[in-house]
Symmetry: C2
Subunit: 360 residues, 2 copies
């Protein structure tokens, strides 16, 4: 087992990464206050892993809430299911939530923890690659609205993150690839050594080689932890973690949540952002080619759905990074060097939207 | 105009109290970031005061959201109305919410501000006595669930509180009296000089004498600001602000939100808590008589609705102060001296529930 730390003063917390960690009570007990624990999972994950966690915590008063599976259920209504289960069991302010599942479970559970009785403790136990390398770390919690993804939420840090890499054995291929999109992102935005390592090991990662997988998760978590420690509430540098996400969120919103996986939309968004970076003169054609090639080898989509430029722009204006209707992009100033860019000419953006689009 | 400060480090903020403040842009402008302002009000208050605030802020991009009036609408669904109005107008993270109304408007608006795009600025402009002396100060925000009041929410401080005492001229008598319940509370829990002043001036307050009203609001806000500064998230001493509220919330939940006004339920709850304090040996009969007499003179209810003891206890176990099913009360250890008490014998509680109940 390897352990890292997210350094946030009195809100610091550990990330544990290793095999067969779900049943280890010792990792959880120090972070639980009181006797009431509620495990939130979903219909897919609960049959596989819920019992292991329940057994580890048999000394506690445990309830579980099993949500339907999918981004479509990342809503206020689903959060209300959690609130009401806690209320029915008289769960107090001293109770603890555990999120056992992917990013949707983690985001909703974190939001419920941030807002139940004005805030209770929670622990992340992510079971998908995407949530292990991204959403379980950093305290972004929230739910979607019909008009935009993650538009309701809170910055609220977990007590700890327990990443059991054996859970990846049951992950569908499509979700594994979607998770690799975020792994690739860390290489592109901040770490060319890691980018080169991914390029060398992409086939091992797709084959779920345990050592490669653990390394990829560890470096990804280290990258994220360092950026979050520097800028917890995204007043500046943290925004570079959203590389590919402005285009990606637009795809997800346009296609309806869950039809494109988040990682798939981000992968295509990273291609589009790299294309825009090149058109802005920040990177060269061979840098762009390298981005495209890696995403292609990871089995991720390179082309977004057909959408009019106006539709793209309207959707992107709803992005949280947008400032009062002005678009803001995270672009590459070089491979491994992402930056926030406010001054993208509309004409250049339209060139990218035209170039990276389905050819009819 | 008088100004106080709530001291919370970099989350400190001013409270301004005076006549005709709603139209003073100078009080608001320093606390608004960006150009987007959304005023949240309700169907009763908006026709009276919305225009004054809109006119003061005519240099900004203003939208307004008018909610239905009443505690029944203090829900996640109503918060969603605010989120969606902001999204429809492409309101960014730099936008500002203004709560113009009573406690329900303030609590929902604060919760929406705490959670829209993971947190935006907000300003409190309370228009009822209850919200001016209590809910607008201190950062408690939230909504109700069918199983309990304020069970979903966040601690989230406003940028400033603007209390325009002229808004009290349009307040119905019943709501004025309900607000006086919280004013009396500050005297009972922490300030015997203020208690004596209220006893002397209760008829002036009921007659809305402007000087008496301003004094009562200022002292109430000072008392609250001092306690909040000491314990922002209610890990200890702040709980004494809930004097009368454990019984009161049970009344509100049992009767359906809005049938008893919050201040009415708290008034009866304060009588019950005083009775329990006497039975615990903390205060004398003549102290209890003084509490009862003042609440009677304020025109507030002394007797709760008929309810079985088991119903009372089950409802009170859902109180946020309850610790894993154990009841916790705020009791008077003397007039002006409230304290948290965990060890109330069930038999003593049942005596109070029997003594302070409708005589059939």
């Amino acid at each position: 087992m390897e352990s890292l730390k997210v350094s946030l003063g009195d809100r610091s917390y550990p990330i544990h990464i290793g095999q067969n960690l779900l049943g280890l009570a010792d990792l959880l007990v120090p972070h639980i206050k009181g006797s009431q624990v509620c495990i939130v999972s979903n219909e897919t994950i609960a049959p596989l892993y819920l019992q292991a966690v329940e057994t580890a915590l048999h000394d506690y008063s445990i309830i579980s809430v099993i949500l339907p599976d999918g981004e479509n259920y990342k809503t206020l209504e689903t959060a209300a299911l959690i609130y009401d289960s806690l209320l029915e069991s008289n769960f107090s302010r001293s109770s603890t939530l555990i999120a056992l599942g992917g990013g949707v479970v983690g985001d909703i559970t974190g939001f419920a923890a941030a807002t139940y009785q004005r805030g209770i403790r929670f622990i992340q136990m992510p079971t998908t690659l995407l949530s292990q390398v991204d959403s379980s770390v950093g305290g972004k919690t929230g739910v979607n609205r019909p008009l935009g993804k993650n538009m309701v939420g809170a910055f609220y840090q977990p007590q700890c993150v327990v990443i059991d890499t054996t859970t990846l054995n049951t992950l569908p291929d499509r979700e594994l690839k979607a998770g690799l999109a975020e792994v690739i992102k860390y290489g592109l935005i901040n770490n060319t050594d890691f980018l080169a390592w991914i390029e060398k090991h992409i086939d091992d990662l797709l084959a779920r080689d345990p050592d490669c997988m653990r390394h990829a998760i560890r470096i990804s978590c280290e990258e994220k932890a360092a950026i979050v420690a520097e800028d917890e509430t995204e007043s500046g540098i943290r925004a570079i973690l959203n590389y590919g996400h402005t285009f990606g969120h637009a795809i997800e919103t346009a296609m309806g949540y869950g039809n494109w996986l988040h990682g798939e939309a981000v992968a295509t968004g990273m291609v589009m952002a790299a294309d825009l970076s090149m058109r802005m003169g920040f990177i060269r054609q061979n840098d762009l080619d390298r981005v495209v090639e890696l995403i292609r080898r990871a089995g991720l989509p390179l082309i977004p759905p057909a959408m009019a430029a106006e539709t793209w722009i309207n959707l992107m204006k709803k992005d949280k990074k947008a400032q009062q209707g002005l678009l803001r992009f995270i672009l590459l100033k070089g491979l491994g060097k992402a930056a926030i860019v406010d001054e993208v000419p509309a004409s250049t953006l339209r060139e990218t939207l035209g170039a990276i689009s389905p050819k009819t």
